[in-house]
């Protein structure tokens, strides 16, 4: 244990892995320490009976196609990571209950999406096209800002729409665009992917995410998320990096206000910098000397809203998707067309919205022939889970799962229950156990009007609280999502590499 590293990464989640890939690719001597026995955090899979289940991925944005690769595919290619991608052609199906409810199946691709919307909501096409044009403007502004300079004059003259989108909510912007209400509602379907309500979430963030799904050819790895994580594990090893699994970091060691290494059961390990792929508050409260944490860091952690809780049901069915009449990969089931009502549904585990995915519709080999898997997700607010205890845990867990399955059967008019060969139910506590995040959320901090992606990016330099200690992950600037986490890990490595270069060390 007397080795010294350039960098120690605490946690092999998506961002930690991407960080380590970029760091090792550029010659940094890197050690990754992971408390679980597997890499990936959320990005994993598990086996029960004859089924292997994707544990969390719905679809990965911005993978693109071989001919027209998106940022994620490019990043993986730059690592020479061995992943087989399978593109998903349809965007989503959404069924919203209640007055003015609808059942809409939306295709991917901007033109097809706009055509379909026009068919559903006459007179909406132009506003939808205008929206996707704004998405391009947002990407252009982000590209400009990521060069590290932000001339106010240039911003005002060339990126004024971006400034509007980045400081106004999805709702405010869609109203300003003059988009018909029903079209607005359908456009907002993806809000659960960011888990923030559309009256608080800024349009810039939502739109970039949405366009990356609709226009950016989303995809899934052929062998579920475990393939992504093992591919990155493989890259780190090939690049000469080291990974310790099943090893818990007990302390991030600081000296004179600087991070200098970590302590594990076997002893202390030193490094020039420590990159924590965990919530800042987890590091502050459990791994660090409280005196080493500046008050402002704690204030920030306390000011932020933690992401929502997750509850997922994994089903292995002993009939094929075709036999059961399952056609859609991704179906959103909402209690109302109104996204704020949908958001509020998370306050009750008897009413929360449900998203259902059937991987076999995209990857027929996702399970044995004659079978299929279903993956049902709902999200809950902290208060919805507050009354659960050890004794009512199992009953509540089965009650929620039953409601989710029956809702799907009812809305899609098909039968699932008699064909359940395997069932696994992951509650917020299951997520908490594996992810070790507050309330088990995979989502980092929920976007608030003062805590948007842009507010995070612009304040990043003021929020490097402990020297040589960096945080990467869903709680980072780009918030949740696989592609955001990879990008966050990669860009943080880039930043450290620039600093190393500037200090003349490398």
């Amino acid at each position: 244990m007397n080795k010294k590293y350039d960098v120690i990464v605490v946690g092999a989640g998506n961002a930690g892995l991407a960080f380590a890939c970029t760091a090792t690719k550029n010659g940094l001597k890197t050690l990754v320490i992971e408390r679980n026995i597997l890499p990936g955090g959320c990005a994993t899979s598990f086996v029960r009976g004859r089924f292997e289940y994707e544990s969390s991925l719905h679809e990965l944005a911005n993978v693109g196609t071989e001919e027209n690769p998106g940022s994620v595919r490019q990043l993986f290619e730059s690592y020479k990571a061995k992943v087989n991608w399978v593109n998903e052609e349809n965007a989503f199906r959404v069924i919203a209950d209640g007055e003015n409810g609808y059942d809409a199946t939306m295709p991917a691709g901007v033109e097809a999406f706009a055509d379909k919307m026009e068919e559903l909501v006459s007179g909406s096409r132009e506003s939808v096209i205008a929206l996707f044009d704004l998405a391009k403007k947002a990407e252009a502004a982000i590209a400009y800002l990521s060069q590290g300079k932000a001339d106010p004059m240039v911003m005002m003259s060339e990126h004024a729409d971006f400034m509007r989108m980045a400081s106004h909510s999805v709702d405010e912007c869609l109203n300003a665009l003059g988009m018909p209400e029903k079209a607005q509602n359908i456009v907002k379907t993806y809000w659960p992917y960011l888990g923030a309500s559309t009256d608080k979430l800024d349009l810039a963030h939502y739109l970039i995410m949405m366009a990356r799904y609709i226009a950016g050819s989303p995809a899934m790895p052929l062998m579920k998320s475990h393939e992504l994580s093992l591919a990155l594990d493989d890259v780190i090893r090939r690049n000469g990096g080291e990974i310790f699994y099943n090893t818990e970091v007990k302390e991030i060691i600081t000296e004179n206000g600087k991070a200098i290494g970590v302590r594990i059961d076997e002893g202390e390990i030193y490094a020039d910098c420590v990159v924590a792929n965990c919530f800042p508050e987890t590091a502050f409260s459990k791994m660090m000397d409280s005196k080493a944490v500046p008050q402002k860091a704690l204030r920030l952690a306390n000011a932020r809203k933690k992401g929502e809780l997750f509850f997922t049901v994994y089903l292995g069915l002993n009939r094929s998707a075709q036999e059961l009449g399952i056609k859609d990969y991704s179906v959103f089931l909402f209690n109302s067309p109104d996204s704020l009502q949908q958001y509020r549904s998370m306050d009750s585990f008897d009413e929360s919205f449900v998203i259902v995915n059937c991987l076999n519709t995209v990857i027929p080999t996702a399970s044995e022939e004659g079978t299929c898997t279903l993956f049902l997700t709902t999200m809950l607010s902290e208060s919805a889970w507050a009354g659960v205890n050890e004794e009512n845990y199992k009953e509540i867990k089965n009650r929620i799962a039953k409601r989710m399955i029956e809702l799907y059967e009812e809305k899609l008019n098909l039968s699932v229950k008699p064909y359940i060969e395997e069932i696994v139910i992951a509650t917020p506590s299951t997520f908490a156990r594996y992810l070790n995040t507050p309330n088990g959320t995979p989502y980092g901090y929920e976007v608030q009007p003062w805590d948007t992606m842009m507010a995070r990016i612009m304040n990043a330099n003021n929020e490097q609280f402990v020297e040589n200690l960096y945080f990467v992950g869903a709680h980072g600037d780009r918030a949740d999502g696989y592609s955001s986490a990879y990008s966050n890990g990669n860009s943080t490595a880039g930043k450290i590499l620039r600093e190393v270069k500037n200090s003349g060390k490398a």
Binding site: V47, L134, D161, A176, E390, A432, A455
Partner: protein, 389 residues
């Protein structure tokens, strides 16, 4: 017609983002964030990394003992789950899975019960039976395993096919039904050689006497006695006691007995979802598997990497990689020891292993990137392996 642009919105609001953020931060509490979130609290209480328990009572039975393990707090569980019990033998930490026979509510009262049966060549079982006494402490895992009744999956009637100490998960299920923490009907078919070999008979009799939902049928293979079925647990017997009702079958017991029952069940034409096996416990001898390749070397060289350390040694090959490692004092995490739980997930850097198809529960990508579960992998040649101790 509406003009589709954002010009009605003020772009300068963007310039307030930094200021607004500072204002919100300044308003917030500067204390270390409190850890009182219910999902984390429950995760901790349901899934502690380890539990240190004291043996408070040992009850002798034929070739077996029942141990009561007490803790300040015992993690709640679902009947059918097991504990991975660790012991130190000659300086090496070895662990084995034991199904919990006490009820979930007993855990809340602060204890578990497990049964340990003497097995020929059973290193850990025999060590526990011969050495552990009241007052000793034991380290056990969280309760784990998926050999549990699932109301959304299983038939309302569960037929338990049990043999030997394989009765234990069903005793816990029976108690849970009595307590009301489970709600299903349980028909236990318990196979033993002779009446005297029946484990926990008094307990089973008293439960079935007082609870309509639990019925126990003892099946003796080497004795004919009134009030007992005679022979082996076969299709005939299952049909006789299930009387045309739909049912799920749960099997737990010695390999030979389960193998026989499986063949019998095949004649009943049940859907696969209605047949569930408890798989924990490894098969030490690979020659048990029909397709184990011939002419494998008797001795192999094993090179192990763990946290940057390297160790090399020679070992007899006819064993699981996990047991080979443990014999050298290398202990990757392990739980089920039957291929299923994936706790011993390790990277095979060089060499080839034999993995019986029926035990191979790896993820698809594990094969692509060369990961194995050492508990059900047998060396076919010299190996290099990286483990996470």
């Amino acid at each position: 017609m509406a003009k589709h642009n954002l010009e009605s919105l003020n772009p300068l609001k963007f310039t307030e983002l930094i200021k607004n953020r500072e204002t919100e931060i300044a308003k917030a509490n500067p204390e270390i964030p409190k850890e009182d979130l219910n999902a984390n609290f429950l995760a901790q209480s349901l899934h502690p990394m380890k539990q240190t328990l004291k043996i408070t009572e040992i009850i002798e039975a034929k070739d077996a003992k029942i141990y009561t393990l007490k803790g300040e707090k015992c993690a709640y569980f679902t009947s059918g789950q097991y504990l991975s019990v660790s012991v130190r033998i000659e300086g090496k930490t070895l662990s084995r899975p034991y199904s919990i026979l006490s009820s979930p509510k007993d855990a809340l009262k602060g204890f578990y019960k497990i049964a340990v049966k003497r097995v020929e060549g059973g290193i850990v079982s025999n060590f526990i039976l011969d050495n552990l006494k009241t007052g000793d402490t034991l380290e056990v895992s969280e309760p784990t395993g998926s050999f549990t009744y699932e109301p959304l999956r299983d038939a309302e009637l569960v037929v338990a096919v049990a043999g030997g100490s394989g009765i234990t998960p069903f005793v816990s299920m029976a108690k849970a039904i009595v307590e009301g923490s489970e709600d299903f009907s349980l028909l236990i078919l318990y196979g033993s050689r002779k009446e005297e070999d029946i484990l926990l008979k008094n307990e089973l009799d008293s439960i079935s006497k007082n609870c309509e939902k639990v019925r126990v049928i003892y099946v003796l293979s080497e004795e004919e006695k009134e009030g007992f079925e005679q022979g082996f647990i076969n299709a005939e017997l299952i049909k006789k006691y299930t009387e045309n009702r739909a049912f799920s079958v749960f099997l737990c017991g010695p390999q030979a007995m389960i193998g026989f029952a499986d063949k019998e069940l095949a004649t009943l034409d049940l859907e696969r979802k209605y047949i569930r096996h408890e798989v924990h416990g490894e098969v030490a001898d690979p020659l048990t598997f029909e397709n184990f390749p011939e002419n494998t070397p008797e001795t192999v060289k094993i090179t192990v990497y763990s946290k940057g350390e390297k160790k090399e040694f020679f070992a007899a090959s006819k064993n699981t990689v996990l047991r080979i490692l443990e014999a050298e004092g290398i202990t990757p995490p392990s739980r089920c020891r039957g291929g299923e739980c994936g706790f011993c997930h390790s990277k095979l850097l060089k060499g080839e292993v034999f993995i019986p198809k029926e035990l191979d529960k790896r993820r698809e990508a594990d094969e692509k990137f060369g990961f194995i579960h050492p508990c059900c992998s047998y060396p076919l040649m010299d190996l290099e392996i990286e483990v996470s101790q």
